[in-house]
Structure formats: structure tokens, C-alpha cells
Amino acid sequence: MELFDNLLLGLATALQLNNLVYCLIGVVIGTAIGVLPGIGPIPTVALLLPFTFGLEPASSLIMLAGIFYGAQYGGSTTAILVNVPGETSSVVTCLDGHEMAKQGRAGPALAIAAISSFFAGTVATIVIAVLSLPLAALALKFTAVEYFSLLVLGLFAAVILAHGSVSKSLAMVLLGLLIGTVGIDVNSGVARMTFSVPALADGLDFVPVAMGLFGLAEIMANLERPETRQVVSQKLRDLVPSWTDLKAAFPAMVRGTFIGSALGVLPGGGAALPPFTAYAVEKKLARDPSRFGKGAIEGVAGPEAANNAGAQTSFIPLLTLGIPANALMALMIGALMMQGIQPGPQVMTEQPQLVWGVIASMWTGNLMLLIINLPLVGVWVSMLKIPYRLLFPAIVLFCCIGTYGISNSVFNVWLMLGCALVGYFFIKVGVEPAPLLLGLVLGPQLEENFRRAMQLSDGDPSVFVTRPISAVLLGIVVLMLAAMLSPTILRKRKQALAE
């Protein structure tokens, strides 16, 4: 059984003492930033990237992945206790979770959220392990032509399924692709758009771009609103949910896990879409939908399971195909490239202990999260007492140091500042910055494969539609675009993404 061999290999990697420690560091940091509103996983991962240079590739990815799903856990804790979603993915948890807390049932709500997340995390780990093999086998048949079409599909899907206007997001992808071409052209050795700045010869680092667009710009916009004070009124008593609670929550948990696993694989699905869908499904299936919003336990279990399952399965396209499903996965690709690993289908066969180690670490990480979240919930909640007026200068400083640390270059810090100003402009004109990051990270690969494909076909673009796999991939893109023009789907999408 290849599957079990692989899982065992992964477990052997994930259970190494140093990897367990990095996993723990990752999930602890993740929980902390999940609890704190105002810092998301994207700037955090970007910040830690430079310091993962010295680590083994597997350790570094295990830690960075831990930050991501740890943040989902932390986000739901604050959603339940103080009605503040730490992350966008836990917005739905506020609805019924906080309502339960108000009725004095904060303990069971937290426990159900944690148990649902753990259950979903466990199932999702198996889903990843099962799906990865056939996908990777398929991907090995890919040449430059198929790979280009796949990248195009990934970018389009990420744009269409994510928040915000599709046309603006496409423009942002192009913008990302454009700044991805900065630097010395690999084929001809000619410097492109470097404006004679030597630091630009190797291209733009994506860390300063990500930190500027997501970290600093966000702070600038946050400071425009007066600080709101959070009061934790709930005393936490019995954490253990009753048997009836568990029985009510279990079916929702299972449904949420499957919804999350399915949606997480889709590019752009990532962490935001699954919980909303799961909530909608639970409400529709419930015998008495009016209970929702008034503390229905299914309204906590379903979305929490979906949220965690989605967060994990969004690693599938990354690990098997080298395609990031969202901006955070794009950073993971960056982490791989920094380690000298070219992301793509070959990673699975060339670095099995890396891929399976990361997959298995998600399970150990989820177990750790269960342990550090339930008994220590008081510690996390007390972190909310740190006022934003102290938090944000510290974030600014850490962004500066982290950006400087990638290559000890002051230029990168200035670049981050520039990106922060542009990012603020994007927030003001209501454009999502995430597609830009996808474009920036995938740009060089996209160009490389496009040029190689065109070379192979002697400049004949029809090669993309005459090769079957490529034609199917591009056909899906066309279908998606056509679907976007249909008014009913447009309306449904608006509903699905409305917060």
C-alpha cells in the first residue's frame, strides 16, 4: 500500500523531535495571531520567511503551515468569546458561537469548535494523502504547454472564487505578473525594468511586497477607525460539552468537513468560502432554521469543521501541482523557492519526505492545537487585553526587521514602504491585493513555460488547444468566465461571498 508507506514516511518526518518543536512554534504563533485582530497569517508568514533559510525545507514548511491552521483555531476562540472574528474565516462562528457564550455556554461552544476542527483536520489529512497520489501522477505527464495552461487555470480560478470584482482582480493579477518580470531576463541575460538599481537585478522579493500590501497598508487603514475596546465578560466554567451537544454537533461536523475539503481544493477557496457555505447548508437542513443565530450548536460545528478542512486541503494544489490556491499558499511557494526547491509536480517524487512530512505534521499540529487551546483558553483571551495602540508599532517594527532580514538590504525596506503606500491606495479604491501576490509569485514560471511552449511550437499558439490536457484546462477557464457573465450565477456568487 503506497498510501500507507507514504503516510508512515510522513509521520516519521513529522515526529522527529526538531520538527515537532517547529510545528509547536508554528501553531502557537498561529493561535496568537489568530486571537489578535489586526494581524493576519499573511504578514506573519512573510515575516518569518527570512528566518526559515537555515532550517531544513520540511521543518520550515511544517512551521509555516502550522501558523496558517493555528490562526484558524485562534480566530474562532475570539469569535466565540468576544464576538471579534480574529480571521475572516471565523466571521460565521460569531453568529451562533457568541450567542452560545452569551447564554453562558461558552465552554461547550469552545470545546465543540475545537473538536470539530480536530475532527476536520484529521479527515482532511487523509483526504490530502489520498488525493495527492493521482494528482501528482497526472501532473508528471505535463510539459511546458500543459503547465502554462494549468497556471492560467489556477490564476483565473483563484480570482473568480475569491472576494471582490473579477475584472479588478484580473487587472491585479496582470499587475503582479508585470512586477514579476522585473529583473534579469533568464533567457537573454538582459536587465528588464531594473532602472539601474542593482538590488532589482534578481527581481522583486515578494516578502517586502506582501508585508507592505498586507501588513502595513492594513495598519494605516485600521488606524483611521477609533479603537474599540473588547470586554470579556464570560466566566469559563465547564468546558466539557454534554452528550446531547455532541450528538447534535456530530452530523454538522461531518458535513462541514466534506464541504470544507471539497471547497478547499479549489483555487481561491482557501479559508473564507468553506465556513460560509457550511453555515448556509446547516441552516437549510435544520428542522427549525430559526434557531440559527440564537446559539445553535450546529452553527458552530459545521463552519468550524469546514474552515479547518478547507485550510488544510488548500495545500493539495500546492503540494501536488505547485499551484497556490490563495495568497498565503503563494508565500509557501516562495518559501520552497527560497530553499532552492522548484515547486511543481516533481516535488512529490523528488522530495517525498518533505511533502508527506508536511501532510502528517498537520495531524500532529491539530492534536497540539487541541491541547494548547482548550485548557489554555484563558491565556489566549488575556492577549486581547493588549491595546492596538501598542500592538501596531510593534508590528511595524517587526515588518521592518523581517524585510531587512531577507537579504540584509535596506532597499527592501524602502520597497516595503512603497508597497504599503500603494496598498493603502488599493484599500481606498476597494481593490483586493491578494491576486497581485499570486501573479507576482507565479509570474516567472508562467513566462518561462509560455516561452518554452512557444519555442516548441515554433510560435504557433494553437498548441495550447490541440494538446488534450491543455485544451481541457483552458476549456474550464472559458467555462468559468462564461459562467461569470450569467446573471444568476453572478447573483449567487455575490450572496455566497457576502459577509
Binding site: 487587472a171 528588464r192 501596531f392 508599532p393 511595524v396 521592518c400 531587512y404 491606495f425 513566462e447
Partner: protein, 149 residues
Amino acid sequence: MTQRRIDWPDLLFGLFLILVAAGTFAATRKLSHGTAADMGPGYMPRAIALGLLGFGLFFAGRGLVRAHAGIARVHLRPILGIAASVAAFSALVETAGLALASFAAIVIAALASRESRIVEVLLFGIGVSAGAVLLFVKALALPVPIWPW
């Protein structure tokens, strides 16, 4: 939102894209274009810029035609405070060392918020700077001077 004659967000985003496209054409004018089978270094940037130009014209045009919302008020204090903080850090870090650069970054960043309190910020700045030096230079071995001397 009040009704305006111009959709400012769309118009500004469109103009921004047009500007970027124009800049790209200017910056790549000396690079060879090549053919589709053998692309020169200028091929991709210009092809992408062409797409951006198209999007830019579309958004700008739509912004002028469609009556829509204005833009939320821009607050200068946070922008200037954060920008000055980052600028101070880059100016100081290699000459004056990480300790002073961190302290300056914290204090200047705090100016961005109306809610900061002087004594608290100074104490917090000292604490975080010390922590940053310990964490990044001592523990993570970031090669950067700590002090100006």
C-alpha cells in the same frame, strides 16, 4: 454614500493602471521584442502592459460614465506616521544599529495614532527594542550592528 457624478475608486484605479502601463512601455522601449517563437526580453512585459492598459482604459471610462460612490476620507496622520517610522528604520539600521533604529521606529509609529501616550510609548519602545535585539541578533543571528559604535 452620496451620489456623485464620477465613480472615483474606478477612475483612480483605471488611471493608476494606465500610468503603470505607460511606465512599462517607457522602461522597456530599448529591449528587443523578438518573435513569438523566440521572444526577446521585452515581449512579456509589453504584452502584459498592453493588457493593463486595456483594463485601465476600461475602468477609467466606466468610472467617468457610471454615477457611483465617492472615496472614503483619507487620513494623513496614520500614513505619514507609519511611512516616517519605516523610513527612520531604513535610514538608521545600518549606521546607528538595530537598538536605536527599533526604538525610533516604535516611537515614530506611535505618533500615527491619536491614542498613544508618551510615557507608555517610551517604556514600550525600550522594552520591544531590547526584545528585538535579543530575538533577532542574539537568537536568530541576524548580521546587523546593535549599537552605532
